[in-house]
Symmetry: D5
Subunit: 147 residues, 10 copies
């Protein structure tokens, strides 16, 4: 798994500045997951967002163009991810994919949840028996068009 | 994609009784997605849960054993799912998998979100510009043990 | 490549009645490609559409439910299709996929063409040097949401 | 996904000159998608076309040979593309591939749409509910030869 | 590897009638390889051809429709064929594919040999050191259209 | 698809000398396809053949060893080739593989056409309706040994 | 892994008659591995061989045709075999494949060992530290033809 | 297929010294195939063996450590090898794998031939009709332990 | 995932008799995991073991032959298992495979742990913070033979 | 199989210092397998652990950050490992995966053994008939949550 050089550069600068994704998100008024997806070449910044980030990370201004060009997306090399944290989400689909499809269609009819008009958030739920990860995905329902 | 005969039997009975997964969930005090995952052979009912469902669906009591035996899980045939609704969740991981991993680790340290000590809920968020699907996944954070 | 029994039943009845997809489309006011995708278990009819088709094809009314339930979609067995007609569309993406992506993004910004709020039409363009197939795909542009 | 160095060079020069694919297409009297496919090493320019493009992009003349040699085609690395924009076209074939095959054959008989004697165009259809992408593919129908 | 039932039926009848593909080809004025490809569900007969073959093989007339409907093509199950005779042709492409591409393009320019406007013949070349198989493939050259 | 550096060197020299594969084949009394397969690291030259080619292409004599050592063969990266010209030969096997097998076995008995004691030729057949590519493959028939 | 019904029938009869492959090989003057490969649909018997085997196994004479028709070969389902005994031979090639290639070419020049003009034998070598399996493969060397 | 740099270095030195694998095997009292597998990073030399080989090949002594460290084994890149010489052994398993399994188990009971306590030899069998390659594999039989 | 009919029959009888694998193991003096692997067609019973099990499970004596014939092994359908319990062991190898290899080789030299002369045990370790699964695998070390 | 440069650096230093994984484990009070998994980029050290290891191996302090950042895990390149030592563990799951699943569920109910709250140990069991490798895996049992 080799990360693109842009990703490495951004992650290194962030570490040196000792900034969290949340800090950077606050700076440009975006969620921390969105900022992380920009770092991994999966989202497109506006010119202003790019300028602010570059300033905060003390990077050269020629990165502005890279950060504001729509990238070729999809960042996982192997067909089935082998990193345990990421694999669990693949497994969730193996186990709960068809059940979720039925429930979504029972509530909404034939269609899908958009992965484009979509946001994702990660929260920590404190719990004495062990903290929990809460992932909230929220996407527009798109009904199948008939023609 | 051929569903196991138990799944087909349960879905058919549910349709004939005109019951939603939510109705069945209320009956046995479980979430609708969990009930759907039981239908698809991805979860194990207690004897009481099995008995209630069989009664509500007017099915024969020999299904109790099937519903209360831990199944071989994983219900999607192809390596990469081709159904558009389910594929979107695979795509979400392609696009947001590494970013989420970084954010989770920034908040929790080295470890994963459990897909076993885990629940998943689906809600409809009404919106004048088009209703939205809200999926909440919540799993215990498991830190990597060192030994 | 084995077609589902519902597809076979519908195709057989259509042949016996000597009806084209265009005839059936006119009957229910839908495009012929949409009707064909309903036959192949890739779309969901309304109750009225199902009733009209069943009557026109002289089939039993218990098919109404099958035609009006959202199906598990994706009808091609192998990962890469081997039928020459269908493969050509896969090849078109191999050859023109990235170029199209650039042109679409040059015109619309970062986002995709929806395959859900989407229609597809097939026309014959007569040409003395050999008739041509014209395929028109039209989908809503969905810009990537930022959050 | 690493682009060939020729592609990178051309894209960079185009950006610096602030030219769209449409501008370049007008220059050599070709469609913008065709120009983009030339950039991605999927098409072959004539000597004149190569010369004009090199001049417009202020590049060195030794690129003429590269642009006018038939390339090894097929520009997508993974078997199933992971970029969301490109994947949608793969999904369209999963969902509408067999239906289209039937409609094409109902109109033309046994044969295929050529992907060689073929053109593809991308247009923006303005729409108050959201602009739409219109993709027109047009290829010669090739009937199966019998011998 | 399971052959479709139509293929089995035709092969069995041919064997019982003790007819070679050449005999059947002479009967309907087609090459023996084409007749074999019809048997394997890879080609479409005219009504007359179907009628003659059905008569010669003493089969029921309801097969006429099957033989004259364009089939879903591609008869090899595994991605890489395991039968040694067929694998050799796959190997020939591994070894001589790129060399042939260069020679074809040196002679014809950028384009392909059609596999649709195409015929294939198999002959026995007698040779004292061991007979040889001669396979002649002949397809129309299709130059890439520019637009 | 990255070609080995030896292949690139040879192709570049050939281009600079403006020689066709046919010219080089005449020089060493070999077919043009065989010369091309030598360029792509799929065949082994004798010392004399290597010397003549190196002289004609004005290359350094240390290439003689590379050209006369049996290579690791198989030059196509992806399991299924994506270049359209080469894919057509893969498709030909999908469509005509089993039919050819039957015809070859009807003529020769159980065995295969050798891909080693084998030659392949490419010719241009001029035709007013469009020139045709004629590919002749000729290999020794090898009957299965019984022991 | 499902064996073809002909294989099952033959194995069952052999078991009931309590015959080893060696017994059957002696009967028709063939090696035991060859007889086993006939049972698994990988070889073709002569009419006499088929008749003798059918008599010895007390089977019906209509099997003669099945045993004497060249089969579609290749009996292992998965791409990489999972049975431990068979996998070891795959591993041997992973570990010793390239070394063997070099040694064979050092002894014979550029070419291959035929897998058609080929025999394979299995022997037991008694050894106080544990008996050993000796597999002898012997195939004609086929030098690459140049043309 | 890129060989590790250690392999290239060893093969180059061997060529310059004009030594065969047999010569090197005689030097250290090992079989030529074993020496070749050491060259390809598939076996581990003792310190003495490494020293002798390094001296004979005139290489620097820092290679001793590389030659005497157990390597990560498995030297073939693609899942199914494409080099014709190596593929034939894969094909032999496709065709004769299950038959051999039955014969081995008929002779030895349930177990496998070890690929670790194992040797492999390659010999040339001269034959007026064409020399033959004889490959002898000999491995300890390991019966399945029951516990 | 469809289990072979023999497995289903045995599991059903075991359930009806209300016997655990431990009970059956005690009966024939074997470990419970070994008994389970016999049920899944992965091991071979002696005639006595088969007779005892058949009696305990009240099954017909014709199963004796099935239980005492070496099976074709490998019981997981997909290349990468999708059942979460089984996948975890695959993940353990992804994460700890190379580290274990180094530790084993540091302790034993170049070789492997046999999976044939091998046993596996599963125990429950009670723990107030949550019980733990203890899996003990024990196989003979096999050093690589040199020859 | 190319190891990351960090891994190579650590392995080289360890070799030069002539330290075993056990030595390093004793130094920081961790098991040797855990230390090896840290070397292979599969675990995260604390700052103190990193400091001690860097001192013992005489490496530069800038490695501290690399050793204490959670890595992207999963270190085996091919889907199915080809190294014989590692493959055996994959085979163990093919053969004993489903049996183990049944035994674990018979003892614990529906759930899995955690691969995160998990440790693994490797021991040498001396045995006159050949030493044995003992691998002990111990993970928390995680019952499936119902909600």
């Amino acid at each position: 798994m080799t990360l693109p050089s842009l990703t490495k550069l951004l992650l290194k600068a962030k570490k040196e500045k000792n900034l969290s994704f949340e800090d950077l998100g606050n700076l440009i008024n975006r969620d921390e997951v969105w900022v992380a997806s920009l770092f991994y070449g999966q989202a497109t910044a506006s010119e202003e967002e790019a300028t602010s980030l570059i300033a905060a990370l003390d990077l050269t201004s020629d990165l502005k163009e890279d950060l504001s060009t729509p990238p070729v997306k999809g960042c996982l090399d192997p067909v089935i991810p082998t990193d345990p944290l990421i694999y669990r989400f693949y497994e969730i689909m193996q186990v709960y994919g068809l059940p979720m499809k039925d429930v979504i269609q029972e509530k909404f009819g034939d269609g899908i949840m958009s992965a484009i008009d979509f946001s994702i958030e990660v929260d920590k739920v404190e719990d004495p028996k062990g903290d929990r990860v809460l992932v909230k995905m929220c996407g527009k329902f798109l009904p199948y068009k008939k023609w």
